[in-house]
């Protein structure tokens, strides 16, 4: 009984940490412009719209976070093997991974932006100075929480995978969940804030991203401020729910029916999510659609 209670407590803690990780990951990727919407940041100068938006999408979010989280997990694991305190080991690993993220961000911004020089896009040194550290800070939060989740899975819950292997699995899942949930909000709602609300961006508007703020040119840090209100928490909820239900169904129901209890519980949870999704879809159709052609004056 005590094991189950500890297991549920750790599951709740891991879910909460994963929620923070998801929110920080999405905000980091939006400030650094690393998700799929970055195609528009790269495209804009080619269409004649130069800007001051950060641009570091050399790789997608999932492989990038796989690298950083696995690196942090690997270093933390090495320190743990040397007998270093677990909290210190996790911090050491995360700090190293964050520096790697900083180097990656700087070289990616310089490389991608310099490749646009023939379209008149300048490289802004003050953008590197001001934005890179902000992405590093968010990356630190995302990495340290994910590494802690992996550590809890390895030690308290007793998953057979070693810490670096768990880092590959959950680093990739973090990037996949964050980019899937957060990208549309950054792409449609922020980069194309000048387009109509409640409709997709017409393909003809591609590249015409919003480049000006209330005063002066738009900064990437403001993109993080904007998406942290919806895209970030939604991504956090997504990753938090994934981690929570993956652990919860196993810890609570694995002892029933020789292990099939966890499988059945998982199937029931999937069906419940499917019903909720259908409700959300029907709600959207009833309240927003169908689209009608505007009457010309």
């Amino acid at each position: 009984m005590q094991e189950i209670i500890i297991g549920i407590g750790v599951t709740a803690l891991a879910g909460a940490l994963a929620a923070i990780a998801g929110a920080a990951e999405d905000t980091e990727s939006n400030i650094g412009s690393q998700g799929d919407p970055n195609s528009q940041v790269q495209l804009a100068p080619q269409m004649g719209y130069t800007h001051r938006i950060y641009n570091k999408a050399v790789s997608g979010e999932p492989p990038a976070y796989t690298l950083w989280v696995t690196l942090a997990c690997g270093v933390a694991w090495a320190f743990l093997m040397l007998g270093v305190n677990a909290i210190l080991a996790i911090v050491f690993g995360t700090v190293l991974a964050t520096f790697v993220q900083g180097v990656y961000a700087t070289t990616a911004y310089l490389g991608r932006t310099a490749s646009l020089s023939k379209f008149g896009q300048p490289v802004f040194i003050d953008v590197i100075k001001s934005v890179t550290t902000v992405t590093m800070a968010h990356a630190f939060v995302a990495i340290i929480t994910t590494v802690t989740v992996c550590y809890l899975m390895m030690t308290v819950i007793g998953h057979p995978f070693a810490l670096p292997l768990l880092g590959i699995v959950w680093g990739l899942a973090l990037g996949a969940a964050g980019s899937a949930t957060g990208n549309p909000y950054y792409g449609k709602e922020r980069q194309y804030q000048n387009q109509k609300f409640g409709a997709g961006v017409p393909i003809s508007a591609s590249g015409n991203i919003v480049r000006y703020a209330e005063a002066g040119q738009r900064s990437s840090i403001d993109n993080g401020f904007f998406t942290a209100k919806f895209g970030g928490p939604a991504s956090g909820l997504c990753f938090g729910l994934i981690v929570f239900f993956e652990l919860w169904r196993t810890i609570l129901f694995e002892d029933y029916l020789a292990g099939w209890g966890a499988v059945i519980a998982g199937a029931v949870i999937i069906i419940i999510f499917m019903i909720i999704d259908r409700y959300v879809e029907v709600w959207g159709r009833k309240n927003y659609g169908p689209y009608t052609v505007e009457a010309s004056a």
């Binding site: 997504c238 499917m274 879809e281």
Partner: protein, 287 residues
Amino acid sequence: MSAIAAKPGANAGAFQPVPSVIAIVLAIILVVVAYFLGSAGILAGGAMPVLQTLCLIILGAALIAFGVHFVPVGGAPAAMGQAPGIATGVAMLATGAGLAGLFGGAWAAELGLGVALASGAIGGALMMAITCLMVNISYVFGMGIPAASGKVLKDPITGDLQAAYKSQGTEGHGLPFISYVGGVIGGLFGGLGGTLIYIELLNFYNVGLPALGFVGAEGINMLAVGLAGIFAIGMFLVIAVLSAYNITGTIEGPHDPKFKRFPRAIVAAILASAVCGLVAMLVVALF
């Protein structure tokens, strides 16, 4: 012929019999090589267990390749609400779901093959069910956009009309119910295939590592889990990327015309997994 002149014809993505037969023959040769390595004692366990391991690894890879085609991926256009699907890459999303499944399957490995495979499949499906739900919540509650498919007039499951809910100048947006179900099925197959590869490799290493003689009894299981996990993840990435090439960009799910391309990806996965599987087994070969 220049690259511009070489436009894809009407049969782009069509099944090509000659290369497929060559690929299958090469895969069979590799399986026969594994059989003889097993019978010669170079691969531990004997000829039949080695044959069974490689064949089940190939089956797992084929399941992954099939599953990737179900996952609705919209890439960059989806991030602007210009196309339906999830706004990320095919390979990465499918791998994320598959590895979440592998996590569950590896955890349940000691409970038997059936439970582990089912747990892996459900783990992958659960990851996709939550992700797809949050995508639709983002579109509907965050951006005020209803889900609409650009490839079919009616949702094949619910019968909902799609064209009227598509905003002007786009190919659709969000995840209609058929795409949602496709995502869950994709996660199911991905988790199942990934876990099958992992468990087969784990069993093989548990036999092969003691035969090498330099690993202590207490370290065998940890090393076997690590090796099997790394190779399973690596093979998952190989198959997911191959399938992503077959899809070329975006796919809405099982109702998308591109879905019919899956036999070609399965053939490629059979050959790629035969090569990768044999290499993974040769790691503990007794030369």
